[in-house]
Symmetry: C2
Subunit: 396 residues, 2 copies
Amino acid sequence: MNISSRDLTMQESPIRKLVPYADRAKKEGTKVYHLNIGQPDIKTPDSMLKAYSEVPQVIAYGPSNGLAEYREKLAAYYSEIGKGIESDNVFVTTGGSEAIIFTLMSALSPGDEVMIPEPFYTNYNGFAAMAGVSVVPVTTSIDDGFHLPSIKVFEEKLTDKTKAIMFSNPGNPTGTVFSREELEGLILFAKKHDLYLISDEAYREFTYGERTAVSIMEFEGIDDNAILIDSVSKRYSACGARIGWIVTRNTKLLNLILKFGQARLCPPTVDQLASLAAMDTPRSYFKEVVREYKGRRDFAYDELISIPGVIAKKPEGAFYMVLALPVKDADDFAKWLLSDFRIDGETTMVAPAEGFYSTNGLGKNQIRLAYVLNKDDLKKAINIIREGLKVYPGRV
Amino acid sequence: MNISSRDLTMQESPIRKLVPYADRAKKEGTKVYHLNIGQPDIKTPDSMLKAYSEVPQVIAYGPSNGLAEYREKLAAYYSEIGKGIESDNVFVTTGGSEAIIFTLMSALSPGDEVMIPEPFYTNYNGFAAMAGVSVVPVTTSIDDGFHLPSIKVFEEKLTDKTKAIMFSNPGNPTGTVFSREELEGLILFAKKHDLYLISDEAYREFTYGERTAVSIMEFEGIDDNAILIDSVSKRYSACGARIGWIVTRNTKLLNLILKFGQARLCPPTVDQLASLAAMDTPRSYFKEVVREYKGRRDFAYDELISIPGVIAKKPEGAFYMVLALPVKDADDFAKWLLSDFRIDGETTMVAPAEGFYSTNGLGKNQIRLAYVLNKDDLKKAINIIREGLKVYPGRV
């Protein structure tokens, strides 16, 4: 029996491909610090947890575009960011993942191209493969803190199949927050060439004082181009709730998104009710969470940059950073940490950054690190990287 | 801005396309009996509801293939049905919908064909469109109670692009339960031509004494061909939980399904915990539910068949039936009920069956009816159809 030809384009997730190594380490009794995946340790807000216990007596289908009350509350939130966002401009999905899949399937035809600044969230590859579209990477550099190159570079990559530019802002895996000027440049380019702008803003609340995230919904004159992706996963430390949404003023696009939504019936009902309740979370919760992440970022950055040979720019948002290590092959180093290196029976798991690049050969000496652990654990986890680099045989 | 060319292949759900008519009726104060959608009114089991209130403090990502404990318990359930089903043969998805999308994307390449006996669950069209594969309908007849035609008919439709046969058993929208002999015929055909057999068994517990549902997992010698689709939606009256799963012994296929699964991260965590708890539901719950549905089926069938000009065979499973009405255009009749016909300020919503056929022009005088209401409501709802047919201008 043959399986689908998609097997050739679907990659195994680079974030998860080292899991067997970690599992083996754990089986041997090793404690593994997970800096490889963006699973925060922050408690989900009480309002959200409480809502789960107020479950209805019949867990019924909801509307395909999400519960009306939830869409209204989300629209109110975005109304403070951009003009003319009504509940009908919000489409609730099963996580940000489904939001991106539906967006790519609705905005692009099979065979079309989407430009994505690299390094980028690796699952964009999978979503593009599902939608049958090609990813065209636009390379950014660790030396520029992964900010966008000049629009010329985008122009050079443009073909008659280019239909969209997609990016996450603040960035996963880079932690980079785009300036208003960077976005304005992209917008001019998108308007000129009739391109969709797909702005993944799942980390929009996570910035640390240097720069706040500018939403694509703030800009006028791009009603048909602009598509915002968002999710409860990181904002409320509720990754397992699988609730996300699309915001766009493009009603023609929304009509097609609705057809995909109707086919899969609806996003999870109780998780939507909990996500609705989460919107009543007091500002103090976020202030506290952001303060905590800022402390972790400052600590992690200072510690890491003090390791001889490590190169990084201080990230301004999200809770990731990409570092260059003094190694030839970061994938091998990450495996080596899991297989061969222990301090007091503990080791650290990181994500090799190569998988976040679409261009072959880039990022080979880089890793992505998620600072989602408390400071004590972070200290031990980074110390394992520091000490490991001293004795790792593949060091350069 | 152009939208995706998929707009041409994605249909609006025929179950939902009359919703604006129903909404208008409700706005005017009319009570609408919903026989159009399979949303049961049965209470979700207590064990499941209780589990929602025992939510963890951090709603975290789970494994991409589902929680290990849940997969183990599901495997134990299927072990009583077929040999050699381990937890690794079970892949948990976001509803049966995602199970089918992942299956089609993994088993078929873009451009391939899947044969489906029609009338069929309309969302199969949407899933096929998402996967870029073509549906080849194999027509069944109301006169045969929608049982399968001879294998010759399948042979005639076979091309070098045919890669799978997909069906629901018990059937949605027909309520038909395939005999062991029917399935054996399909299996011989599938083995001969190396085809996948995708058996959607979401209604497997819902049969009413005449015939029990035979699972595709019962058969030996088709380890690589057989794929079972299932879901908690109907079994536990938990449609909004969005938990489904794939069972197959084909490990090559499972590896590709895992890649799609990793891209979208995981199915909802709390809903999985609740679905796990649901498996402790006592047999008495199901006995009571099946008894209730049997009563409804018998009542609905007897009432409907007594309406002059109505044609139907008694369905043996699920909670749907397809009827031929003495009208030229059932879609028009359904709209007319919602717009123009009331008894004591009440009306009935049914699903025109045309949308369940892939072959143009079939099913024009048929409707699908879901007997998901209690008997009192069912009586009133069917009486509205009976009385409506007496005065409907488009009657033949």
